[in-house]
Subunit: 143 residues, 6 copies
């Protein structure tokens, strides 16, 4: 683990974004509130927030960083895609892009889990479902 | 959480695959064993195995499933891309695709964390790095 | 920890119930969907499900029991009270009342956390808020 | 999760209190040190301390707060009731009442678990046992 | 992680043993019940039981094994040494020696933590304290 | 848990050391990179780092301390012994020797787990394997 002992505590923020591709029919069922397991965005938001706070246990070489803000947003961007954007803030000795990325990945995985039933084909396979475009879109640190 | 009380315990297997895009220079440093934080594949493998076992805590509506096998493979598929393939096995009342997907996502996130230093541009942003093509490539269950 | 090695694996079910007393105004804001932190019942449900699965880490002498079903219901029973009822099922060598109780307690605590802002008086104290009547209402085991 | 980025780090303290109702006979066995699973108060104290430190993983929207003090006290207040009082302290950007409440709830649940055997009737039900009166009795913050 | 998919579920038991060397004065204070932080054996027992159940998260390549019995015993064997013996049982596809060892190690570490204050010299160093002789003393499996 | 509320945040460092005794043949196989489960030192390092960060959940009365550096080193010191040395750093209100000790213990346990197959005799027992000499070798705090 990188030694950050001598780095100053400064304000830091990171934003990550990712997408999940689903069948159009599944997107429709989300819009209509018909997903049997519950509201995918509500559940995914909770999962993302918990994952952000737990990043240093999930990603082995991450430092333990208490986050002062976690914001997770969901948007249906077209017939087949949902976009998740997560922003996290802290005052810390190292950056928090892994927290933003981990939260976003877990939100996307949770949407998959919530919609599994509608995405499987008759052989139990997932021809459409895909998590993609997971990127850090902005990192800010106090000068 | 879906009620699986009456489903039989049968043999189940799932395989997930995902990619991370890195700078060609970073890929070279991985090949040459020059990543300062350690061997990204070894660390990512451990992270993936721990995540697979911990899936029911990370993805809220997943059942607790003791896995009998977790296999994580890494391949540098070209100048810019690493592919991670994870297979998990169990005898259980429900499928384990979320375990395979979660492990693969965590392996890819760990590679990101291990190579962060080499991927950042002079403004601390990540113009190249991207996790993508995360899919379930095979689900098998005993008839 | 009690030795359950020689007990048979049988079907088991447990249901727990508990209440939280809130200000009438807070109850109104829940009904109207105006709680700033999000929908208390959705968040509390996720928290309860995760807690049920994690009971053996929270309550030291509980055995590790994979649950096959967790059901959490919320009801506004009058102007001041919300009732949470949690049912869990498993096939195991010991009962699951602690799982049902822990999940219910965590659901109630999460409602508290979600509505804190509306429950505090001008001195930051909680004159109204109270968790109470947490009981096991039914335990069933296969003969 | 509420954004606390701009709030100052100040001294904070919270105290929560709760009760568990048990059979008089069970209370007697606790007094006489005859509970087969061990000393309920010792075990419940450890469970409470661990829960206080783990609050941000149990209650989804709680911030990660390192506590500087956790104090858990047990008192047999009459023939049927045990009272648990938990005080926690920290220097942080937000209050710690959820930590005090979560610790108290887990202490009470652990007492239930430790005395289950003595509380069950011949049908395996719990006619007497009840967790109740869980409240925040004091919140203090540095001016 | 070793693939145990085809191994049969059989009865398994493992016992581990380890020692901690303390100052004679510290041993006396344990005997007299004067350790300020509480009873080291009670706290260490809880820590050991929780660690045994959590072994697959602590030791990366261990399988998730639900234990049916965990027994932790403490003995002051002479003026300077405490011995911890942990036995665990399960019905599983692989052995549980790592669970017995991890629990014993955590019990010994917890005793250290409980008695730190009495073991430190004036420079804050630990000239006497040592954990040693941590071994598996017996592994049994059903034929 | 000791009340550290009024202690100042100062620089602190702790180093722990421990050994594991293995068969000479197992040591040879580690040197030759022939351990089937993977590189024991790489896996043990990850396990140790995660354990250091998780100490306050493993050792009940430890405070939650964000570490700014964790360093784990492995050395084959002779035909039968591997030595693990772990140093941790922080700026905190209390010392971090338990973090260094816990990380070292978990590294040693992980080496055991990785080499189990080669250490067992024909009856499945471990006549050679032993964890020993686990000590704090240095504690430093800023004056």
């Amino acid at each position: 683990m990188i030694d950050i002992t001598k780095k100053p505590e400064i304000y830091r923020q990171a934003t990550a974004k990712g997408k999940i591709t689903l069948k159009n029919k599944t997107i429709q069922q989300i819009i209509e509130g018909k997903i049997e397991k519950g509201d995918p965005f509500q559940i995914a938001k909770v999962a993302a927030i918990l994952a952000a706070k737990n990043t240093s246990s999930i990603i082995p070489l991450c430092h333990q960083i208490p986050l002062t803000s976690i914001n997770v947003d969901f948007q249906i961007i077209n017939d087949h895609n949902i976009e998740v954007v997560t922003s996290v803030k802290t005052k810390a000795q190292t950056g928090v892009e892994m927290e933003a990325l981990t939260a976003t990945a877990v939100a996307l995985l949770t949407i998959w889990d919530m919609t599994k039933k509608y995405e499987k084909d008759t052989k139990g396979q997932y021809p459409t479902t895909e998590i993609r475009d997971l990127r850090v879109i902005q990192k800010i640190k106090e000068k």
